[in-house]
């Protein structure tokens, strides 16, 4: 029983880490540009498929390094060509546009790589279990959690220690003043979008080894990421991180006792948060 609970808590933590990684990217874009990026799951799939294509040439580690950057590059292009035109307009339009993009990306990956699930190679030594008692504790699972932690730490370091991060945070508070102070807001938003998509790409490379590689791989992650943002509080990145881990662990624990409700529990959590604290756990009052 203890093993079962531990297993599901760890599982929840891993899934929660993915939710958090996705949701942090979404949150970055939402905070600075006011765009709900519905195509985020699509970018995750692009990251995963790019890694799949690259692995035979550069190996798993090379793909892990390169695929998220390539995904971010695609994201920057998309922002440049399409999304930039919609800033300052009703959020309805950017939502519809990314909605359409999500369709196109899903169909596009199906067209290029096929609809069937593809084999995804991860290094053999990562697949070994680390302990004979806790059989589920494979190297890959631990590796994923560590890597997500490093990525999140890196993101927060960028945001607090670099000039780009400072500007992103300032723009989140008051974009107009930042623009008046001489910062090129167009480039800032462009880079910020790329940063958000980088997180999605990284999540994709990692998730493919766990969830299996298919065109709809992002679908099961996008809604929980929304819930993570709402639970954590709009406008707060630490909140998003907490929200993601929280709903992941909550659904993991629920799996032990009531497997069919594991998906529903995060929505219950969201309803409770909205009822008691509409701005979310760490959200600022009056921002939305």
């Amino acid at each position: 029983m203890v093993q079962l609970i531990l297993f599901n808590v760890l599982n929840g933590l891993i899934i929660g880490a993915f939710y958090a990684l996705m949701a942090l990217g979404l949150s970055l874009i939402l905070n600075l540009s006011g765009v709900i990026n519905f195509a985020h799951g699509g970018f995750l799939a692009i990251g995963a498929y790019l890694a799949y294509t690259l692995i035979p040439y550069v190996g798993f580690w090379g793909a892990l390094l390169a695929a998220p950057f390539l995904t971010a590059f695609i994201g920057i292009l998309v922002e440049r060509v399409l999304i930039r035109r919609l800033y300052g307009r009703d959020p309805l339009y950017s939502l519809l546009l990314t909605f359409g993009l999500a369709f196109m990306i899903e169909d596009g990956t199906r067209f290029i790589w096929g609809a069937d699930s593809l084999p995804y190679q991860i290094p053999g030594w990562l697949q070994n279990t680390l302990s004979s008692q806790l059989f589920f504790l494979t190297g890959y699972r631990v590796f994923m959690v560590v890597l997500v932690a490093v990525a999140v730490l890196g993101l927060f370091l960028i945001l607090t220690r670099t000039r780009l991060g400072l500007r992103i945070r300032a723009g989140t508070l008051d974009l107009e003043t930042l623009s008046v102070l001489g910062v090129n807001v167009r480039i800032l938003r462009n880079l910020n979008f790329g940063l958000g998509i980088y997180m999605a790409g990284l999540a994709g490379v990692l998730a493919a080894g766990m969830l299996g590689l298919q065109p709809t791989i992002g679908d099961s992650l996008i809604m929980p990421s929304f819930v993570a943002i709402i639970v954590g509080g709009l406008g707060s990145l630490p909140g998003t991180l907490v929200g993601g881990l929280l709903i992941g662990v909550a659904s993991g624990v629920t799996t032990v006792f009531l497997p069919s409700a594991s998906e529903a529990v995060m929505y219950v959590l969201m309803a409770v948060v909205l009822l008691i604290r509409p701005r979310g756990l760490l959200g600022e009052e009056g921002r939305f």
Binding site: I36, G100, F103, Y267
Partner: protein
Amino acid sequence: MDLVSRRRAGDAAIWLLLVSAPYWLTHVGGYVELGTRVLILALAAMALNFLLGFTGVLSFGHAAYFGLGAYGVAMTIKYLIASTPLAILVGVAAGTAAAAVVGPLIARLRGVYFAMCTIAFGQVFYYIAFQWRSVTRGDDGLTAWHRMPLDFGFAELDILNNNKAFYYMVLVVFAAAVAAMAFLLRSPFGRTLLAIRENERRARFLGIPVDRHIWLSWVISCFFVSIAGALYALMNDFVDPRALRWDQSGNFVIMAVLGGMRSFWGPLIGAAIFLVLEDYISSHTDNWMSFVGLFFVLVVLFFPRGILGIIGRRAVS
């Protein structure tokens, strides 16, 4: 012609086209079922537009209440009682009740936050329909039931086998719902909603309870969308979880935007264009999704005001 008489002429033309549709559709390459589908999804898009265009609140989760209406109908006929009108009542009650419960949780939120929460809450019902296999049959959907002929006591209308009869039944429901929406929008309540759309802060200062109005508008909108959902299930004699998934919500929004969300009839025109295109393209290619996606992108970039929005602007200037 002045504006009022032009509008009346437009209304008359639309009703004339709808009433005669079963007779001219087949001559222009369509078929009666396509007309029925346009009516049903147009009702859903117009219901969404009650909230989107006339209250100024962005909902991306209307498919949930559409689907609840559909599941209500299917389950009533399959498990409880084989009666079409009763099934519609149950479906609409289910959709409206769910919306009334979700409403207070989100009525305080605005803009993107509201949109996100409607999406997330919409998915709840999708997961229930998907997971609760013993009742909803999960992904396979509810089959092995069909709509029942309408029995008026003195006469019977065979909507099951006569597709024109079913079209006219749908048209009657559509007309009643549309008339009710038009009445509500013209009432002081509807004008208040417009005031909230135009300037929420001013409306609040005038003493209007804005949150309660948004909640009411949300419930009314979901009420009408669940009527459309009920008819949708009757049309297909089938319902599956895709009826309440988020892409269905997106379809409603794109129909409203394409037709023109500031105009009353816009969503009807948007629905007609969307469904005719869908019918044509999906019979020619497997990559229908790419085309829908491209369609969304093109509409947003080039027709953000919608077709009637563009025409209306020309007429005024």
